[in-house]
Symmetry: C2
Subunit: 251 residues, 2 copies
């Protein structure tokens, strides 16, 4: 944990907060904080700052926070992901937040098994703490937005332009495709530092022909990643790293 | 499983083999193979080919293999990794093999906890099947070499040039460093398609100043990955993706 994230409601006037639970346990047992020590804090979807440890209990830590740094810059990569196996999805949440995904759009596809939609892993009770864990790792406060879509065709034809605000370069990972992420991004995206990318990653068995066709008809450009077939989670992290690296740098 | 990997000793004359255990279970339960069907096969550290399913038992599958395709091209990326927590290391093995790491060099560092070296996760009994799982995912047959080094200084000063065969561009991931992987690789590596890279990734808390200095004194160039602090496994996969993407493509 490289940043303690607070809910806005937790802070009293004067920036005081008493932590208990996992955050206090981490501060006490892993970071072994002492009175007077300073730790990095941030408010969820808000500003960053520093906190002084005022007192340490058996299972609580009292902090006084000064939130004088601006919120982090909004992320620029959205992910459209065919729902993977629950075990894989559980592992991905924190990593997606840590890698700076702005919006996670989960979708059905022919090769997504129906029971995947009914698991605990897709409930906010499960994924919200995992996303916050990823933000705390990466020192970000901006919680990725999550939406879940059981109808692929409706999502792509009707909903995506609204969710996506019509902007951004759309990419779909395709094991057979030629051009690399960096080639497509540099050819298609101008140098503006606000440029956004929406990256689509299919199910373990791949998109079917209809799905690929529909994505292509809705401005998704195919990008390849060489000849190796990767597991969904490995492919996700690898492609997100390539997209982030290819984006024009903010000044 | 996109490729069934066989041990050379398993094949009888005429390319016949009877599979049982996990590979048979996967063919029967996930791929639901039938008599006469063809599946991709490869010999560990050897050739690729195809196999015809001759007969299917309750828990066995009989194959006849024709191994007429050349072995995959040797990989060009080696990884020097400070041993992470056992849980993280267990997850990484298959992903490192899937991403095409040629050699995995595990090392001690100040911020590696001693008990990490004594876990089951660092034994060939544990990691070999996981590496093969990764190869089967990525359709490769070349098993990454693994070596484990408890003395960082001895590794860097004395052993690395032998292991590394003196070749290749050396990179060390550093959250504070400026240039990106692609900038360093394109500036430092010629266009030769055999060019190799050795990527060093530190422990969760980072290398200490002595360790970073020693790496730098032994030709490791610092590369950055932006301002986000990532977990070891996320950083590993992200950086490996960037290195693979930055390497000159074979003709």
């Amino acid at each position: 944990m490289n940043l303690v994230i607070l809910d806005p409601g937790e802070l009293s006037a004067g920036g005081k907060v008493r932590l208990s639970g996992p955050r206090a346990a981490h501060l006490l047992q892993v970071l072994r904080v002492k009175d007077g020590q300073t730790v990095r804090v941030g408010v969820l979807n808000g500003a960053l700052g520093a906190a002084t440890v005022r007192s340490v209990g058996d299972e609580t830590v009292d902090l006084t926070c000064v939130l004088d740094a601006r919120p982090p810059r909004p992320q620029r990569v959205d992910l459209l992901l065919a729902v993977p196996r629950p075990k894989v999805m559980r592992r991905l949440w924190a990593q997606l937040a840590a890698l700076g995904v702005r919006r996670i759009i989960l979708t059905n596809a022919e090769r997504v098994e129906r029971p995947y939609f009914d698991t605990h892993v897709l409930t906010p009770q499960c994924y919200r703490p995992l996303l916050i864990e990823g933000l705390q790792q990466a020192r970000d406060t901006l919680l990725p937005a999550v939406s879940i879509h059981r109808r692929f065709k409706v999502l792509i034809e009707d909903e995506l332009d609204v969710i996506d605000e019509g902007a951004g370069l759309r990419l779909v990972a395709d094991p057979d495709a030629g051009p690399s992420v960096s080639e497509i991004v540099s050819a298609r995206l101008g140098p503006e530092p606000e440029a956004r990318v929406l990256l689509a990653i299919g199910p373990e068995g791949g998109w079917n022909a209809f799905e690929l066709g529909l994505l292509q008809a809705h401005r998704f450009h195919h990008v390849g990643m060489g000849s190796r077939t990767l597991r969904t989670d490995t492919a996700c992290l690898a492609l997100l790293a390539l997209v982030r690296d290819a984006l024009p740098r903010p000044a």
